[in-house]
């Protein structure tokens, strides 16, 4: 094995191969930075190129691209609170909070370093697992896989925030949104309203972009000024590096969670990030800073998502079963070379396996180094007026969302989910459970029905199932004990401190928004129940399990919102933070920003991407950015030229206007 690894290293150090690996890394970094574009775009853009190369070089290029997407995606997450990919959503919370305190450099350094470490540990895991993964995966039948998805849900429970009611509701809403599209066990399409666009379900990318990105941008615009509130770059790079070195075990635990999530089918990098984040929150004694910029909330998820990419390759290479969408593209490329991964790959093409291993390791180092290099420049963006950054950012998000299915529905969904995300944020509904519920809903349902249909009820006694069950109950017991202890303390102190941080004074959820959020949830759950009861037996269990409690609990929440709950500490925001010092009236201004976003997307629909984006950027820079018209026009022209170049380079598709057809 060592011989093969060294032989592969020698073959690997070929200038052409290294050069193309670098090309792959650049492609991966580019799509990682751009919100909405992820590993699939990075790998797909390289496909036409690599089919002209030999298999080893092709694999080096693809691996290079895939390995660094989750390294570069932290840049927009930290700087503008817009996740560069869905897996960077936790970093969009914690990292961005740090950036607003002027510590962008520290957050970025911590993120890059833990990404690199995660990728590195992930690939070590990949190498070590080659001899043992097969017997291990053979132990994991549908019942065990079902239990693992359930475990993800339980770990997500530590992200419920201060109001368990709103946290649970948010998770149920996520499940409901995740169930749109074909039912796994029955020939039935759910909640599609006859729309072809909804037949494959909502896109995770669009949900993450909308609920975190659009919502954040609207907030930043309403506030005006620049992103960073303090003039300095803050603690700087070295402090970020020190943060990571101070938490080596967190990096390791995050990586283990990531590799494991990668090995398991249907649990990918996004779930890995959140589970690792939840784990970091759950295992920290001092939780006050989570949601307000805690570097541990960056380290754990960033280690996890890079490690998950390596983990994804384990089933791909050992069983020909892709661990995720981007791994599926790599698998397809291997097929096209006539290479069918599997037990034979390790015997016959061990050199190729090690090419992947070396490429992955090198790409992680290269990716982190390049990200370090470009970040000081990008970090300065947090100090210029946000109104200058926002137009190209919004255009990028629209373009990124549109690549999901290249249907106008992507843009409409982006807007509506953005509105939903913002309403949740402003009414103190944590958005983490929304995303977790969304990601895990369908795999959980799939494996539940497979389990019941294949195993009856015997599976409840399987040793694996019982072991995972124990893992599930342990933290819950621990949390219960802790909660009891903290409520006892709070009785004496008068303020509960469990599960979250001290709220900033006098920032209650804005009441009209809180009421509308409850009404929206009521409507969605109502539709969920009304349509759900008409589904076939094996298509309606999970929808009803989510929608009926959702409906009941929402009425409770509505009553609370209507009672104009006092802005007391018990009813404060969840893990996420509205940011200290933001007053209640700000939501009106933010809603106005949404109108601007909506108007832009409407223009895209009417007159197409180019005309609408140009007009929007120029008008916005002039009216909101206070640039003079010639400056605004020049800026918009330059930005559009960049988009054009990028679009051609990444083979993106442009929305064309209905009026122009």
């Amino acid at each position: 094995m060592v011989d093969a690894a060294l032989a592969a290293l020698t073959a690997f150090l070929d200038p052409l191969r290294l050069g193309l690996l670098a090309v792959g890394v650049l492609a991966g970094l580019a799509v990682g930075i751009l919100p909405g574009l992820g590993g699939i775009v990075a790998v797909s853009v390289l496909l036409p190129l690599i089919f002209r190369l030999d298999a080893a070089t092709a694999l080096a290029t693809l691996t290079g691209a895939l390995a660094v997407v989750y390294t570069a995606d932290v840049i927009t997450s930290v700087l503008v609170g817009t996740p560069g990919s869905p897996a960077a959503a936790p970093t969009a919370i914690e990292g961005h909070a740090l950036a607003r305190q002027g510590q962008a450099a520290r957050a970025l350094a911590a993120a890059f370093l833990s990404s690199m470490a995660g990728g590195f540990l992930g690939v070590v895991g990949l190498t070590l697992s080659i001899p043992v993964a097969r017997p291990l995966v053979m132990l994991l039948g549908s019942p065990e896989l079902f239990m693992f998805t359930a475990l993800g849900v339980v770990y997500g429970g530590s992200l419920l925030g201060r109001s368990p009611l709103r946290g649970v509701l948010s998770g149920l809403l996520g499940v409901l949104l995740g169930l749109v599209g074909p039912a796994p066990a029955a020939a039935e399409f759910r909640y599609t309203f006859g729309q072809l666009y909804l037949m494959d379900g909502l896109s995770l990318v669009v949900l993450a972009l909308g609920a975190f990105g659009v919502a954040e941008v609207a907030g930043l615009l309403a506030r005006g000024g620049s992103i960073a509130r303090q003039a300095s770059l803050g603690g700087g790079w070295r402090e970020g590096v020190r943060d990571v070195l101070r938490h080596p075990w967190l990096v390791l635990r995050g990586s283990v969670i990531g590799v494991w999530a990668g090995i398991l089918p249907a649990i990918g990098a996004t779930a890995a990030s959140w589970i690792a984040y939840g784990h970091a929150v759950a295992t920290s004694r001092d939780r006050e800073r989570f949601g307000r910029g805690d570097v541990r909330g960056i380290i754990a998820p960033e280690s996890a998502n890079n490690a998950a990419t390596a983990g994804d390759l384990i089933p791909t290479l050992l069983f020909s079963v892709p661990g995720g969408p981007a791994a599926a593209v790599i698998l397809g490329a291997l097929y096209a070379y006539g290479i069918y991964p599997g037990p034979r790959l390790v015997q016959e093409h061990l050199d190729l396996v090690y090419v992947i291993v070396w490429s992955f390791a090198l790409a992680n180092i290269l990716g982190a180094a390049l990200s370090f290099l470009v970040s000081p420049a990008i970090a300065r963006l947090t100090h210029i007026p946000f109104a200058w950054v926002a137009p190209p950012l919004l255009v990028t998000m629209a373009l990124g969302a549109y690549q999901s299915t290249r249907h106008f529905g992507d843009l409409l969904a982006l807007f509506l989910l953005g509105l939903l995300g913002w309403t949740m944020k402003r009414s103190g509904w944590p958005r983490a459970p929304l995303l977790i519920g969304f990601v895990l809903a369908k795999p959980m349902e799939r494996y539940f029905w497979l389990t019941v249909n294949l195993h009856g009820w015997r599976w409840l006694g399987y040793p694996g199932v019982l072991a995972i069950g124990a893992l599930m109950v342990a933290p819950a017991l621990l949390a219960a004990v802790r909660w009891r202890r903290s409520t006892r303390q709070s009785e004496t102190r008068g303020a509960p401190t469990a599960g979250g941080k001290e709220p900033p004074p006098a920032t209650g959820p804005a009441q009209p928004v809180a009421v509308s959020m409850a009404l929206v949830a009521l409507l969605l759950f109502g539709i969920g129940v009304a349509q759900g009861v008409r589904f076939q037996y094996d298509a309606r269990l999970l929808p009803l399990l989510a929608a009926i409690p959702g409906l009941l609990l929402t009425t409770l929440q509505l009553a609370r919102a209507l009672r104009s709950e006092p802005a007391g500490p018990a009813e404060e925001e969840g893990v996420e933070d509205a940011g200290p010092g933001e007053d209640r009236g700000v939501w009106r201004e933010e809603l106005r920003q949404f109108a601007v976003v909506g108007a832009y997307l409407l223009c895209v629909w009417l007159v197409g991407f180019h005309a609408a984006s140009f007009a929007f950027m120029a008008a916005f820079l002039w009216r909101r950015g206070h640039l003079r018209p010639p400056g605004a026009l020049a800026y918009a022209t330059a930005a559009l030229a960049c988009f054009q170049l990028l679009g051609v380079g990444l083979q993106l598709r442009w929305p064309t206007g209905v009026l122009l057809r």
Partner: protein, 359 residues
């Protein structure tokens, strides 16, 4: 960032240079063929389209550029509808797809806004299925399937997809099989078989040869039969040339019931199997595509099939099935897509009653 922009600029410049060059004589000279794949990258149709694309560039007269464009969504209906709405009849946009696109159209799904009946077939490539069982079932040869030692459990994805011909074959052969649908792909199904969660499965030949044959050698799987290959009259009676040792469904039926299969069940099987296996991958051109364009593609198929590099790589990529000219298979594809009313009714009833599909 600046380096990135430079690289992208170079890519852009090269792309422009490639597009503007070229001669004039052949139809496709200096043009670009865009192949729409209505699935996400990495699936069978995507792999097939991308595998063939460089050979088309090499062998279509005029050496056009060939690009692949994935338009996933709506179980391939979104991409196919996109193709129907956007492809001009000039042969510059083709669609490469599987039976997952044909079945919804055949059964009149309201979202299937495309008419395959009017499109032209540019070329096709086959997929061959191999059905195999676990030795725990006590089954050693196809006839034993009627009296298995333990209940037969088959894992599938969805009744209306590539499982359909196999599900019809179970009906045709009257096998006592418990069908569990809902897996996310054929790969996870194979793992479930290896773990013993299911004991009856099928895989397409390339996967069979690489992943299942090792299991056969270890005594963990027993291959039983293949889907069969059409003779010149389009009847699915021949053995699969890639796995010639195994009988076809046709032969298995004859052995089991001492008669030639006939009636709606057999014709339903023939239609579904032809669309899923024999013409498993079909490259479509829009209605009204000029004959010159189609001829250029047909002739390219001849040259591709004769290309030793293609043969060598096809052996591992497709299991060795050749590419076939559209003019040679178009009537077969049309016949399979338009089964008689009684056959269609039989399939619809099976899907509705046994698999709860709503039409």
């Amino acid at each position: 960032m600046r380096r990135l922009v430079t690289v992208l600029g170079l890519v852009f410049a090269v792309a422009l240079a490639v597009q503007t060059g070229g001669a004039q004589a052949p139809y496709y000279a200096g043009k670009t063929i865009e192949i729409v794949v209505p699935f996400a990258p990495g699936g069978a149709a995507d792999v097939g389209a991308r595998f063939v694309a460089p050979f088309l560039e090499k062998h279509v007269a005029g050496n056009p550029r060939v690009t692949v464009r994935n338009v996933p969504g709506g179980g391939s209906m979104l991409g196919a509808s996109f193709f129907a709405a956007n492809a001009k009849p000039d042969g510059l946009m083709l669609m490469c797809t599987t039976s997952s696109t044909v079945f919804p159209w055949m059964f009149g799904h309201p979202s299937a806004r495309y008419d395959l009946g009017k499109m032209r077939v540019a070329m096709t490539m086959a997929f061959g299925p191999v059905v195999y069982v676990s030795p725990r079932t006590g089954v050693r040869k196809p006839q034993d399937l009627l009296r298995p030692a333990e209940p037969l459990v088959y894992g599938g994805i969805a009744a209306t997809g590539s499982d359909l011909p196999v599900l019809i074959a179970f009906e045709l052969l009257r096998l006592p099989v418990k069908v569990v649908l809902g897996f996310e792909g054929r790969g996870p199904i194979r793992l479930a078989f290896e773990r013993g969660e299911t004991n009856l499965d099928f895989q397409f030949t390339p996967v069979y040869l690489t992943q299942v044959v090792p299991l056969v050698r270890e005594g963990k799987a027993i291959p039983l039969f293949t889907g069969g290959v059409p003779n010149e009259r389009g009847e699915l009676v021949l053995r699969d040339p890639v796995v010639p040792d195994l009988p076809s469904v046709f032969e298995v039926y004859r052995e089991m019931y001492n008669s030639r299969p006939a009636g709606p069940r057999w014709r339903a099987y023939e239609a579904a199997a032809a669309l899923t296996f024999s013409y498993g991958l079909t490259w479509w051109a829009p209605e009204g595509t000029p004959e010159a364009a189609l001829r250029a593609l047909y002739e390219a198929v001849d040259r591709i099939v004769a290309d030793p590099e293609f043969r060598e790589r096809a052996k591992t990529v497709t299991g060795g099935y050749p590419l076939r000219r559209g003019d040679q298979v178009e009537s077969g594809v049309r016949k399979a897509m338009r089964p008689t009313l009684d056959v269609k009714k039989w399939i619809v009833d099976l899907l509705r009653e046994k698999y709860n599909v709503r039409f």
